[in-house]
Symmetry: C2
Subunit: 176 residues, 2 copies
DNA sequence: GTCTATAGACTGATAGAC
DNA sequence: GTCTATCAGTCTATAGAC
């Protein structure tokens, strides 16, 4: 389905170089269709951004909701999820990419990004609260993994992400 | 001096909406000169980015080097510096803005951003090492304040920055 | 759902006069 | 150091045929 292929491609390009870094021409070229065909699926670029962030939020929050088990395991898998999203320092979380330059997006997209942060923080809150060995509350944990993604992206390798999150994972090994 | 005015303006615009979000036309309009005059000072946009990141790195690293006193005070003022740079959730550190979309920059600028992260981490390392109450090493501290800036920028207010850094500042109050 | 063709605005950049 | 004038290329978006 062309619409899904467009979403997949546009999300990847957004997370790699930002929403302003690709054009309808880029999308059409990659899929072997014309720009007009892309406009058929997403009339404006703002509509495309909206669809991207809605899809992304739903997908990630569903993944988080499926992370059952011990809080220590949940937090480990949370960090692993953000680590995988970094793709060896070549990508960012979509909401980090869009959240860094909010003025380039519609109000609706800005709101969806803010909601994503609220929802992830809400998921993290009981997890970290159940872990006395972890010294950081939910907002700090989210800032840590998002900042770790930025540093990895800037370096072009995953190493800074691991350096930044290693102490957190070490705290999880500490017997309570 | 026109050159300095251009640097000040371009840095502000870069930190507000990113390097791709302003044009030579924007700069010339704001300063009441022509685009050609802007090109006289910075022949290409890549040259402008290079000058911006060099200026910024020098300035911030000089500020850090001037932060004497107890390690606890140094770390408090480090967080305050990143908090001020957020400008109530309307700006980012220049190296966060450029580091988030490195492929939009020249290799030289990418290298300068990476060097900035290395230098700030090097400054932080002995500071946090001298503070047993602080549970995070230097790379994690830098990721924390950078992620806190992203969340504040996405929300458009400083509140997420404070929520993310509050536990760290609380650790500094703990008597060793 | 895809195409051709086009519109109008903007982009970074250059040549050459003053 | 600033100007006028201009360039070729790109951008998002639209109209209308198939």
């Amino acid at each position: 389905m062309t619409r899904q292929a467009l979403l997949t491609l546009a999300e990847d390009l957004s997370r790699q170089n930002g929403f302003d870094a690709f054009s309808y021409a880029d999308l059409s070229r990659a899929l072997g269709i014309t720009k007009a065909a892309v406009h058929h699926h997403f009339p404006t670029k703002a509509a495309l951004a909206q669809a991207l962030v809605d899809d992304y939020s739903t997908r990630v929050l569903t993944e988080l909701a499926a992370l059952n088990g011990h809080p220590a395991d949940q937090l480990r898998r949370f960090v692993a999820l953000y680590r995988a999203a970094s793709a060896d320092g070549t990508r960012l979380c979509l909401c980090v990419a869009y959240g860094a330059m909010p003025a380039r997006q519609s109000e609706a997209v800005q709101g969806a990004v803010a909601q994503f942060h609220t929802d992830v923080t809400a998921w993290l809150t009981p997890v970290t609260a159940a872990l006395p060995a972890v010294t950081l509350p939910a907002p700090a944990l989210l800032a840590l993994v998002e900042g770790a993604q930025i540093m990895a992206r800037a370096a072009g390798t995953i190493a800074p992400f691991d350096a930044a999150t290693q102490p957190l994972l070490a705290q999880l090994e500490t017997p309570v």
